[in-house]
């Protein structure tokens, strides 16, 4: 049995240590928002957070992430600045890569000290979108930064 800490819950899963985290999230825990696309860590569709950092879940095994804090797209609240910005800027087309893209941006946005829009945009080549939503991802990043700043001011 392997113990996984995902989106604030602890799960016991009966899989071998070397199983890629991606398949366990999708098919054992039924968290299907995390997507398979390349299986070699090249495209970023399977990006999740491990202890707050963006990681490709297709190339990391469950054995490596026991006792670590895993967050998937389902664990990002609906009022998170990235999710809100993605709707405001109508970033998405087919949407298949977007959970990975959103997880990548959310991790970069939470870095301390804070990164500016260009610094975040420069770290976006880890995630591929075939529909060509990149111009709107850029807009979404800028809007998410604005929204984050406003939230900080409010609090």
């Amino acid at each position: 049995m392997i113990s996984l800490h995902v989106n604030g819950k602890v799960y016991q899963v009966d899989v071998s240590n070397d199983t890629p985290l991606l398949w366990v999230l999708r098919d054992t825990l039924n968290l299907k928002g995390t997507k398979y696309s390349c299986g070699i860590g090249e495209c970023g569709s399977c990006t999740v957070h491990i202890d707050g950092k963006a990681v490709r879940s297709c190339t990391i095994s469950v054995g490596e992430v026991q006792r670590k804090k895993i967050t998937t797209i389902e664990g990002i609240p609906e009022n998170h600045p990235v999710k809100k910005a993605w709707i405001k800027e109508q970033v998405v087309q087919c949407g298949y890569c977007q959970p990975g893209v959103i997880m990548q941006v959310a991790a970069l946005l939470s870095q301390k000290p804070a990164l500016n829009a260009d610094q975040i945009i420069n770290k976006m080549d880890d995630v591929i979108c075939r529909c060509g939503t990149y111009p709107r991802i850029k807009k979404g990043i800028k809007t998410a930064i604005e929204m984050t700043k406003k939230e900080v001011k409010k609090s």
Binding site: P20, D27, I40, E42, E74, G95, Y96, V127, P135
Partner: protein, 731 residues
């Protein structure tokens, strides 16, 4: 997932009892509106429909597949507009694959040729208007007043004098019993509330939440996952494999030889993948073991010399060119390009003795239904094809190959089966955008008018694999995009736009054994690279500015002229450009729409890298339904086109595909994209498509800018740093 209607419920017309149902029936003689009550009485099957229910909701059944182009929203907007519904009461449901949902443009349920909105625009407007007329009539009867005294707005009918009001939900049952008007009056453009204004896409919130169900996410009780070991070379057959080793992997349930290879079925995808590795299949060498990229290019260039089929022969091109004041000739080559949709091919099927269910993110619902009926041996009314949302289509999902596999395995094993292709399988077994080899000669008179054009094209078959009906007298019109078109083709005007009095277009279907298919814009993309690059070569020969030369040879083509003039103005054509940058222009028409683009680029002459800084586009697609997603489609089309123009080429070796994954088949990333500006030209011309027409002009605009930057013409894409350096060194 939005639940799908049950086909049986619809065909029996039982929904008519729930509220007001309006359908559209399309015949070769035009379309006819049908109410649910009428359909029930006559057994008449409407095409596509919507319903208004007592809960005051309007549910539109969307016949086309949603792959991010925004078809759910656009079609719902058209209904809402003429129905005078309030946007908040609109719901959409993805329709099943069924007779009633065939696109009027092809009598086939498929999401291709940028045809959804242009196919449904008028029928859906009329359907919306008919519903409104019936609701108004129902209200007038209740109030015992004349219909003229009533008006409908935002889902409510109001009696103007007394200010009495009734919501659609309250009226729908009474309205359902009324006869349906066949020619309801439509709104004027200046009365539009939704059409022409950007409406937020209905599919986006769930996608952002990560809750959207794609085909690959379908789950069934007792599901087995299947992966297939496939031949590494075209036509290769397995010589030996270790079935026992695969069966010993924990979780592997069944190893089975199937026509496409050796399938491993398991209780988890991970076990299936491990089982397949354990097979260690030895394959024979296939049908053409020497084939690699050099072989292909040489082979196709030689095929240019074979006797060809004449596609267009107007005037006497040969004579006109021999007598021309100036003559230009060139050969071009475009390689194979892969789709690499982010969601790899997959399908889930559950074949039982008395029913068959298929979940396929498909662009060709009718084709899926046909193969499901044929493989299951069940009549179509026992076959349910569900279309989950699609993780990128690009044309790849017109082929039901993974569908056939899931059906075959499910039928043999009596279990629900989900076939998943790995990325490697997806690239190696793609139906590529075809390579093409071109030889063109053209003549100009002393004033720079085109007098003759002779075009020879070698391409692999495309329609043959998808829609053999498109193959006429040996000519595959899917290969001819941007050059020639069948007279009655629903592609609408996919032919060369320039005014050429003597035109010859010839075609030879290559015999290479590589499967090809439709790739966003079909061959309009690669053909536009060739045509529009060559037009710049002719402009140079004529001593004319590329824009001026185009306009001169498009004298009466007002739509092409207008997009060129608009893009030239918006991009500052002829005005100074930033230091170190060069500018190129191109235009193309396909699927009824006209697009021109200007690209600003720079070339690093030390390493051959091309940087595209800005692309400006002008689009005339006739009336616009939802401008925001329309612009997004053009942006995406430009990025796909640039990716193919600068980076993508499928590699072959030993008679099969060498390219395997995103590490060796690279597509455009965020740091590589230009600024993109899209200008919509206001137009009341016939509506064209929008999913694909953004693609073709970007590649030649960049190639033309490259010439303007370096004085070197590269007649082949992709313009990778290596190819650029080789070309620069040769001069």
């Amino acid at each position: 997932m939005k639940t799908s209607m049950t086909r049986r419920a619809f065909l029996k017309g039982s929904l008519a009892a729930a509220g007001l149902t309006i359908g559209v029936s399309v015949t070769p003689f035009g379309h006819r509106l049908v109410s649910g009550a009428e359909a029930e009485k006559s057994g008449f099957k409407p095409y596509a429909y919507y319903e208004i229910t007592p809960d005051n909701l309007v549910t539109v059944y969307i016949p086309s597949s949603e792959m991010g182009q925004g078809v759910w929203t656009a079609l719902a907007m058209i209904i809402a507009e003429e129905l005078e519904a309030d946007w908040s009461q609109i719901r959409v449901k993805q329709a099943l694959a069924a007779e009633p949902f065939k696109n009027p443009l092809f009598n086939f349920q498929k999401t291709v040729m940028s045809a959804s909105v242009r196919g449904w625009y008028l029928p859906f407007r009329k359907a919306g208007a008919a519903g409104k007329a019936m609701l108004v009539k129902a209200a007038a009867e209740i109030w015992k007043v004349s219909e003229e005294e009533c008006e409908a707005s935002k889902g409510v009918v109001r009696h103007k004098k007394s200010d009495r009001r009734l919501a659609y939900g309250k009226l729908c049952k009474k309205a359902a019993a009324l006869s349906i008007p066949q020619d309801p009056s439509l709104k004027k453009e200046d009365e539009f509330r939704y059409i022409g204004k950007t409406m937020a896409r209905l599919d986006i919130p769930e996608k952002v939440a990560g809750k959207t169900i794609y085909g690959i996410d379908i789950d069934r009780k007792d599901l087995w996952y299947a992966v297939i070991a496939r031949p590494p070379a075209y036509g290769a057959k397995p010589v030996s494999y270790d079935q026992k080793a695969a069966e010993q992997i924990k979780g592997v349930e069944k190893v089975m030889s199937v026509p496409m290879g050796i399938a491993v079925c398991a209780s988890s995808i991970n076990a299936a993948l491990k089982g397949r590795d354990a097979l260690k299949v030895n394959w024979d060498k296939g049908v053409l073991p020497d084939m690699n990229n050099d072989y292909i290019e040489k082979f196709m260039n030689e095929e240019l010399n074979k006797p060809m089929l004449s596609v267009v022969n107007t005037g006497d091109a040969k004579k006109a060119i021999s007598e021309a004041a100036k003559k230009v000739e060139a050969n071009y080559f475009v390689p194979f390009v892969a789709h690499t949709t982010m969601e790899p091919m997959n399908c889930t099927a559950d074949v039982r003795p008395d029913r068959c269910d298929v979940w396929a993110g498909t662009q060709a619902a009718t084709a899926v239904q046909n193969v499901a009926s044929s493989i299951s041996g069940l009549p179509k009314d026992k076959v349910n094809v569900y279309t989950p949302l699609i993780g990128c289509g690009l044309g790849r999902r017109t082929k039901p190959d993974s569908v056939i596999e899931a059906l075959t395995l499910s039928k043999a094993l009596g279990k629900p089966i989900k076939v998943i292709w790995t990325r490697e399988e997806d690239i190696k077994n793609d139906f590529f955008r075809s390579a093409a080899s071109h030889r063109i000669e053209a003549g100009l008179d002393a004033q720079g008018n085109l007098t003759g054009w002779s075009h020879k094209l070698v391409s692999l078959a495309i329609a043959k694999h998808i829609n053999p009906g498109e193959l006429k007298d040996g000519i595959d019109y899917f290969c001819m995009g941007g050059l020639a078109d069948r007279a009655e083709s629903p592609a609408l005007n996919n032919r060369i736009q320039y005014e050429i009095p003597n035109l010859s277009i010839e075609f030879f279907m290559s015999s290479l054994p590589i499967p090809c298919g439709v790739w966003r814009s079909v061959q309009n993309g690669p053909n536009a690279f060739v045509i529009e690059s060559f037009i710049d070569e002719l402009a140079r020969a004529a001593g004319k500015d590329p824009l001026e030369f185009r306009l001169q040879n498009l004298k009466s083509n007002m739509r092409a002229r207008r997009v060129l003039e608009t893009v030239a103005e918006k991009a500052g054509w002829g005005k100074p450009i930033r230091q170190g940058e060069a500018r190129g222009i191109a235009q193309h028409a396909c699927f009824g729409s006209y697009v021109a683009q200007v690209a600003d680029i720079s070339v690093n002459k030390d390493n051959g890298a091309i940087k595209v800084h800005r692309v400006v586009a002008a689009v005339d697609c006739g009336p616009v339904v939802n401008p925001g997603p329309l612009v997004a489609q053009i942006e995406g089309g430009i990025i796909n086109s640039l990716s193919a123009a600068l980076k993508e080429e499928v590699k072959f070796e030993n008679g099969g595909v060498k390219s395997a994954n995103f590490d060796d088949y690279k597509i455009m990333k965020m740091s590589e994209i230009p600024e993109i500006e899209v200008h919509i030209v206001k137009s009341s011309e016939k509506m064209g498509g929008i999913g694909e027409p953004g693609v073709p002009p970007a590649a030649p605009a960049v190639a033309n800018a490259f010439f303007n930057a370096t004085g070197v013409r590269i007649r082949r894409i992709p313009l990778t740093p290596n190819i650029v350096m080789d070309a620069l060194k040769k001069t």
